[in-house]
Symmetry: C2
Amino acid sequence: MQTYIDCYPCVLRQVIEAARMANASPSQARKIVQETLDILKSLPEGATPPAIGSQAHRTVREITGNQDPYAEVKREATEKALSMLPQLHKIIDSSQDHLETAIRLSIAGNIMDFGPNPDYDLWEVIEAVLHQDFAVNDLPKLYEYLGRSQSILFLGDNAGEHVFDKVLIEQLTLPVTYVVRGGPVLNDVTMADAVAIGLDQTAEVMDNGARVPGTIVSMCNPKFQERFRTADLILAKGMGNYETLSEVQAPIFFLLQVKCPIIGADIGVPVGSTVIKKGLDT
Amino acid sequence: MQTYIDCYPCVLRQVIEAARMANASPSQARKIVQETLDILKSLPEGATPPAIGSQAHRTVREITGNQDPYAEVKREATEKALSMLPQLHKIIDSSQDHLETAIRLSIAGNIMDFGPNPDYDLWEVIEAVLHQDFAVNDLPKLYEYLGRSQSILFLGDNAGEHVFDKVLIEQLTLPVTYVVRGGPVLNDVTMADAVAIGLDQTAEVMDNGARVPGTIVSMCNPKFQERFRTADLILAKGMGNYETLSEVQAPIFFLLQVKCPIIGADIGVPVGSTVIKKGLDT
């Protein structure tokens, strides 16, 4: 997805938030904002929002020296998600279609963004996602792909959300490789976050080598690039993966909650929508 | 009030909104955003948010050729406010303290920002402002000033809101000079807007000569500067006037709704607060 001008204020807002999370001093924060204005001024043609985010969050790390400003937020989100596990399993066990319910729960987990929500919010989202219609529903096509694929490349998104992904992976019969970011960036899931919840016991976990809040294939390590090129089914969670992969031809399905009006407009659905969307045909 | 870094994304968002209201083409909109990034990059020390807004909205006018992007929004807000007049008068007539009620209504009208709200919202705000405590309450001091002043310099804010100001002015026994902006900028009230509702029948109306969504005295015309310098009581409506005059020594009272967390933090009250605040002592 291209960067729309409406993304500019949002990038700036996010960077200020990150500077605050990194305990930037007022002068550091001003410097971070100045450098972000420079980044926005000189965007290369076709830069996606996560590409900008990647640069901007590197600036935050470089200026503050804080390598993981969202560490605490990620820890809290993960703890909250772990505390919900027994209930999530109960919901699946008592459902008619375990796989669809697990897919819905994984998408519901995508709401775990920008820090923890109060309990009732998260449960409200889960209730809604369990019962609402998909605004884009390529689930039948996803089932087709599941039936004819040998394995799944699963692109993770946020920490906390990855607990919900683990619940889904447990319901999948195909072997899964779970891909995490190459290092801390925003609240995105990393190898340490995955190992901390035992995701490496449920799936192969690999990092893509890039510190980008999305998946820019050309910036990833050769191992990931090879896996991506040869995958027969890719599940991509969240908005960052959508923004960076929506125009890439691959056997990919985007599973996300639409939390931003710009991405909503790009997909053609309102904010709050639950989406399972097949990517560009290969 | 100084410009906080949190104001940057907000300025950018506002300018994109203004570009859209001015029917900017995609390339014009990109140019407007680029120029706004330049403005933000090279802010002079101590520039207030309305000073930036003034520059940014001039850019919108220059690039699109649209001299008044908010004309329609202002017209609709004014019509809505006029349609409420009979009820506003009824509220005052049936109140115990006509003046305080009129002051509260004038502050409630300050919610008429960024276009019209659905009816029930506005009435909800009016209900709340009529009954809630002031988060900062310099009303007793304002009454003192009203008792010892010869006249009032009344600094208007938004179109639509000015209808509520007229209702207040009708309750004031002192002669009032109502000050409007020097030309259309954002949805701020201008001479044409004031004359359209007959404000010139209730008060002397003058424009301050500056196309700024606030009051930067040094940018105003000599006539206004003289009036400002010699005033014994100034009422200043809304956030833009607060942002530009909060550090100016003058016999000024700010009447506003706090609609922005940054201004709230500056005053020390939460968003949604109703404020009557005495300015810096002379």
